[in-house]
């Protein structure tokens, strides 16, 4: 249970049985008046946002969110299927819930799935994922200037800038938080 004075940015609370994250927070207190807590809230299921002002007497339930390690299985229509390796329970995430993670989803990758009362809300991937380059212009001999880059396509269809010496068929390591190339992975 939270009271209004616990409110802060990024806190997750439950309102009307739905999970919300506080995206903006401001403490205000007009001269000699009561303390007010102005929040911008985002519904973690629908993504809809609204503003609300709380008072010191207001209390909140913790949004009871769970993170579970799950394995990515396959896409199904516009959804992505994940499986709990212990219980074999399966959940489906929408393209919107997957977000940028879809650029790094390879078969059987293990991801953390954020759940609210068994409903999936979002995903976080390991920070580093190794992916195969499926399309690349060949390396023009002589172009040895360090720092030069070229765009290539990875096995997930993701387009990324890599150093010019990377060839088709090679494996590279990508930082999933920034979406950027890190290093070549020797087979």
């Amino acid at each position: 249970m939270y009271t209004a004075s616990d409110l802060k940015k990024n806190l997750r609370i439950k309102l009307d049985n739905e999970p919300y994250i506080i995206t903006e927070f401001n403490f205000v207190k007009p001269g000699k008046g009561q303390a007010l807590y102005r929040c911008k809230l985002k519904n973690m299921i629908t993504g809809s946002q609204f503003e609300r002002t709380f008072r010191s007497v207001d209390t909140f339930e913790n949004a009871d969110l769970q993170e579970k390690k799950m394995q990515y299985l396959y896409p199904e229509g516009e959804k992505y299927c994940f499986m709990d390796n212990v219980s074999y329970e399966q959940v489906f995430l929408t393209e919107e819930q997957i977000g940028d993670a879809k650029n790094f989803l390879i078969d059987n990758i293990e991801a953390s799935i954020l759940l609210f009362e068994d409903r999936p809300l979002g995903i976080s991937l390991p920070n580093f994922v190794d992916l195969v380059v499926t399309e690349a212009e060949p390396w023009a001999k002589g172009d040895s200037v360090t720092g030069n880059t070229k765009p290539v396509t990875l096995q997930t269809g993701y387009r990324i800038l890599v150093p010019t010496f990377i060839d088709q068929g090679e494996k590279i390591r990508v930082d999933t938080r920034t979406g950027e190339y890190l290093t070549r992975v020797k087979a």
Partner: protein, 310 residues
């Protein structure tokens, strides 16, 4: 915190802290030139003024002051006619862009004056400080230019509701939404181009203020706003002991009903009140004045240490 990171944060504050020091020097100079006596009263006290929404931290079985008001008025009652003090004040659970739980307040009292005289004195002080800091007659704050040229705008609480709010003043009071409308709809619009004195509060909202001559429903209280910031709060002081007792008792009842810590009645203050001559008093937020003069986004920028850094 990593020592390198802390050194960096503190180094970035150097200009603001220098300006703050010069500002405090200029404030003192202003009061000395006008023959105000600088005093120091105890920070740790047996009871604060009972206010509904101001919570004093405990210090042993006493409290840390939320303002130096009670002791300063006892001095006024004893015949000190012009007093000022710059002191640390404490208010529990107040932390935000404009709030620190420990902050610095400038408070001054003038015998034989009312709140209108203090409006004029506020204009003089801010202009004096701006001049001492080689600012022109305007401050740049949050992308707007606040002209300090006298006279500043004076608007009653009633008119501010009519002009800026979605509810009328009586509606806001009836529905218990006065503070919310004030904080969300009115305050952000006050003092954006020039400073504003918001005056004549409903009498229930001026617990230590005298009722307005000719209209007992209003208190002779004003707040000064610059750039949407509440900078100062002033009263024509209430000197009627019986009335002050009634108001304190009402505030204490509110606190008990709301499950807040009760404060003992400040008896020495109440007993001194009948001897207090007509006077006016005001408290001005020193940290917030520094924010206005440095165009700070948050109060954190004008103090060396925030509670989170300790």
């Amino acid at each position: 915190m990593d020592p390198g990171a802390e050194a960096w944060i503190l180094a970035k504050k150097r200009d603001a802290l220098r300006l703050r020091a010069r500002m405090i020097q200029a404030l003192r100079q202003f009061f000395h030139e006008r023959n105000y006596l600088e005093v120091e009263t105890p920070v740790r006290i047996p009871t604060p003024a009972p206010e509904e929404h101001i919570d004093a931290p405990l210090s042993g079985d006493w409290f840390l002051q939320t303002s130096p008001e009670l002791c300063m008025k006892r001095l006024v009652a004893a015949g000190y006619s012009r007093l000022f003090q710059i002191s640390k004040c404490f208010r529990e659970a107040e932390r935000g862009e404009l709030h620190l739980p420990e902050f610095t307040l400038l408070e001054w009292y003038r015998q034989g004056s009312d709140y209108r005289d203090l409006m004029a004195e506020c204009e003089d002080i801010i202009l004096h400080v701006a001049g001492a800091l080689e600012k022109s007659e305007a401050l740049l704050f949050r992308g707007r230019r606040i002209s300090l040229r006298k006279p500043w705008t004076r608007i009653s609480v009633q008119d501010a509701f009519t002009r800026h709010a979605t509810l009328s003043l009586p509606e806001a009071l009836q529905t218990g939404r006065f503070d919310e409308i004030m904080a969300c709809e009115i305050e952000p619009r006050l003092g954006v181009d020039r400073p504003v004195f918001l005056y004549d509060y409903p009498v229930a909202l001026g617990a230590l203020a005298r009722a307005k001559e000719g209209d007992a429903a209003l208190a002779e209280r004003f707040e000064l706003y610059l750039g949407g910031l509440e900078l100062a709060n002033a009263f024509s002081e209430l000197t009627d002991e019986a009335e002050q007792r009634r108001r304190f008792e009402k505030a204490r009842q509110f606190r008990r009903a709301a499950g807040k810590r009760d404060y003992p009645s400040p008896e020495p203050f109440l007993r001194a009140l009948p001897a207090m001559p007509d006077s006016a008093g005001i408290a001005l937020g020193v940290d917030r004045l520094a924010m206005l003069l440095t165009d700070a986004a948050a109060i954190d920028e004008v103090v060396a240490f925030t509670p989170e850094m300790l």
